[in-house]
């Protein structure tokens, strides 16, 4: 199952260079130029704070199949569950020629699936966006707990910002409020579209936004108007926080979990047209597979690496991942006042990795 891919490779990219750190950090342009054969398949696994996504692409970077589930604070179980679902879709004999791991749990994920490439989710996302549409000038991404903006010119990222000390204006903000209003987050966007009169909500801080919302409810505003107000508050927050002073121009790619929300898309369109950043609504693009872009991106990175190093074999553990018993154990090292929380990963009761100490003495 973990056989080497013996498909024809793109010439020039198959030079016999040994695999090194340098290549792992290959450029987007290179990555976009690389192409594998259509009967080679690559898996990307993105485990974030909110969701776990798996995607399989073929050598032409087309999405073959994907799975999107909630992480719910249990990354190992969600990876195993995700793999099970994917296995059901593609069949047990489906061959994978390269695996990439990304997301905030990328280190753990990399171990569990046996990743050939472990990269940060920001790079994976921008790569996937550029692959989807090479014309884009701006990538705006709002995830569960972070928001970021990447400015792109001529297919090359030139500037980049991310929220630092505050998470107002991210997906969690909407999630919180949806919870409080007892509306499923999936219906949130449609409700916002029903309103044509947004209520101003103090959106600087999630807690105060809630107070303000309660107040507006008690004044008698409708839920739809309040939700639309919230969407606008989130967009305002985003543009004033990470978007401040950045040269935002169209086409803009909107992605991350929040991109699914039609209310937010609409609020972005109106706000950006008003600020004359874009001329037409169509300049905001939401990719078709917006929910699994991170997984697609890292699958492309894995493909890139495998195609460049034809002699390499993938480390993919195989479709039996759900049957393997993984456990994590944590302990506090009390050897110095830093009191680091050290995490151990056990595979079938054997320690396969340990991390978390500042000084590095526990690391394996």
């Amino acid at each position: 199952m973990t056989e080497n891919c013996d498909c024809p490779k793109d010439e020039g990219m198959t030079s016999t260079e040994t695999h090194s750190k340098k290549e792992m950090l290959g450029s987007t342009q290179e990555s976009l130029a690389v192409e594998g054969s259509s009967n080679c398949f690559y898996l990307g696994v993105d485990v974030g704070s909110i969701s776990t996504n798996l995607a399989i692409i073929d050598g032409q970077k087309n999405l073959v199949d994907s799975v999107y589930i909630r992480t719910e604070g249990r990354p190992i179980q969600s990876i195993q569950h995700g793999v099970t679902l994917l296995k059901e879709k593609v069949g047990e004999s489906f061959q994978i020629h390269g695996v990439g791991a990304t997301g905030s749990a990328r280190q753990l994920t990399g171990l569990i699936v046996g990743a050939d490439v472990v990269r940060n989710e920001i790079t994976a996302h921008s790569l996937a966006s550029l692959n989807e549409n090479s014309e884009i000038q701006t990538i705006m991404e709002i995830g569960g707990q972070d928001s970021k903006i990447i400015i792109i010119r001529n297919g090359v990222p030139i500037d980049f910002a991310m929220n630092t000390v505050c998470a107002a204006g991210t997906g969690s903000f909407l999630d919180q409020q949806a919870n409080r209003l007892e509306i499923p987050i999936e219906d949130f966007g449609d409700l916002a579209l029903k309103s044509d009169n947004a209520v101003a909500i103090a959106g600087r801080c999630t807690v105060f936004a809630e107070s303000d919302m309660i107040h507006k409810q008690q004044l008698g505003h409708s839920v739809e108007d309040i939700i639309r107000g919230l969407s606008e508050a989130l967009v305002r927050n985003y543009l004033n926080n990470v978007g401040k002073g950045k040269d935002i121009t169209g086409p803009i790619m909107l992605q991350g979990g929040v991109a699914a929300n039609v209310g937010i898309r609409d609020a972005f369109r109106r706000s950006l047209i008003k600020q004359e950043k874009i001329k037409h609504e169509d300049e905001i693009i939401v990719p078709e597979h917006y929910d699994v872009m991170g997984a697609i991106g890292v699958a492309i990175l894995a493909m890139n690496k495998m195609v460049k190093n034809p002699k390499m074999k993938t480390n993919f553990v195989g479709w039996q991942i759900p049957d393997i018993n993984f456990k994590t154990k944590g302990f506090e090292c009390k050897d110095c006042p830093n009191i680091c929380e050290v995490i151990e990963v056990l595979m079938e009761d054997e320690v396969i990795a340990r991390w978390g100490s500042k000084c590095g003495k526990w690391d394996i």
Binding site: K21, K22, L25, S27, T28, Q29, S104, R119, N120, E121, I122, T123, S126, D146, I150, N154, V156, P157, I158, D159, F160, A161, M162, T164, V165, K244, G245, K246, D247, C336, P337, N338, I339
Partner: protein, 381 residues
């Protein structure tokens, strides 16, 4: 009552403060040296500080309390008029430790008032005359040059070393040697040898193609590993060579201040920043802007801007930086830290930033060969 002197931890410069008291011949057992700050340091500091105070205040307070617990009763804190909140660190911390029930004397070292500073330091010395005190201080600022130089060397060699950990070993030897020398002449002679020592001892990877990243921001955060979460080492591990642009030299380098022909770097930075910020805006705000422009002109790849949450001068700089980025094409990664900053997010941002800069550089080069790396081309002093 016998006085037991102490001072807050201040990154690599802690060694310098230690040296000041050694030079003033304060008996070894009466100098309480702060240990490297830990989580606990930050915790006690935050517990006893006003919530909206900046993180350097909290960390230095924690560091002082730890020293006071170990028996110190005379604190030397840096402060002075009119830069930012740093000027009130000493007085406010005095009130806080008083409330905690400690009987501690505070002395504010104000670099704006050299005479006062001299008098304060003389008071703890071994009955030094004014001239002896000046001589002792001179050794300090001469050692400060070497300390800065060594830091720059570490952040260069660690990024391209072949044998991991070698640079740190060599650096430790250099520090030990530097602080065992007592004569100014010998310090100066040793200073000239330092780059050679690194060159000889640390083998560098000639094929490496490291990015060059400058670090700008608030001085305490830029220098204290506990607050910048070991930013330099993280960058070095990503195969980047970096350099801080802030130094205590700005305050301690009296000869440069007196000599009109010496152009100090902070003055060059401020001049470069003039089109954006005309006036001194406190702290290192102007320098942050100026250094970004200068390093771009020198062909560097990017900057990381680290500053503590609620820092006014850096906030001023932060609002100007997008225009600098637009005008000069120099990307700047803002990193706002406080006592609650998580390491995972920090690392992710750095990795992504480094990836982005690599792509950008490749595009700018357009197939031109990489430049040869060497300390000589990296150093711009």
């Amino acid at each position: 009552m016998e006085s037991y002197v102490t001072y807050p931890h201040f990154g690599p410069l802690t060694l310098l403060f230690k040296a000041i008291f050694q030079e003033l011949e304060v008996p070894e057992e009466r100098i309480i040296n702060p240990s490297p700050p830990s989580k606990r340091t930050l915790e006690i500091g935050s517990e006893n500080s006003p919530e909206w105070m900046c993180t350097p205040f909290k960390l230095s307070l924690g560091s002082l309390i730890e020293c006071i617990e170990r028996g110190a009763n005379h604190v030397f804190q840096i402060g002075g008029i009119g830069t930012c909140r740093a000027s009130c660190y000493g007085p406010v911390q005095r009130v806080i430790t008083e409330d905690l029930g400690y009987d501690v004397k505070y002395t504010n070292i104000d670099y704006h008032l050299p005479l006062e500073m001299m008098k304060d330091l003389r008071s703890v010395s071994n009955n030094f005359s004014a001239w002896q005190s000046i001589k002792a201080l001179r050794k300090i600022w001469v050692k400060n040059y070497s300390l800065d130089l060594t830091e720059h060397l570490i952040n260069f060699y660690r990024g391209v070393e072949i044998e991991k950990g070698k640079t740190d070993k060599v650096a430790k030897e250099v520090y030990d040697k530097l602080f065992s020398i007592r004569k100014v002449k010998e310090v100066k002679r040793f200073h000239k040898q330092i780059p050679g020592i690194f060159k000889k001892e640390v083998q560098i990877d000639e094929d490496a193609d490291p990015l060059k990243i400058g670090i700008i921001g608030e001085i305490y955060v830029v220098l204290e590993p506990m607050l910048h979460l070991d930013l330099y080492r993280r960058l070095n591990n990503l195969g980047v060579i970096c350099r801080n642009t802030v130094s205590l030299k700005k305050f301690t380098d009296l000869p440069a201040k007196l000599n009109p022909f010496v152009k100090e770097y902070y003055k060059i930075y401020r001049e470069k920043a003039r089109p954006y910020i005309q006036q001194y805006c406190g702290g290192d705000g102007q320098e942050s802007i100026g250094a970004t422009i200068l390093l771009r002109e020198l062909g560097w790849d990017g900057m990381v801007h680290v500053w503590p949450f609620s820092c006014m001068p850096e906030l001023s700089a932060q609002s100007v930086i997008p225009s600098v980025t637009n005008d000069y094409g120099m990307p700047v990664l803002p990193m706002i830290v406080d006592e609650q900053t998580g390491e995972a997010g920090f690392q992710t941002r750095l990795e992504a930033y480094v990836d982005m800069l690599k792509i950008k550089r490749e595009n700018e080069r357009q197939g031109k060969p990489k430049e040869k790396i060497s300390w000589e081309t990296f150093n711009y002093d």
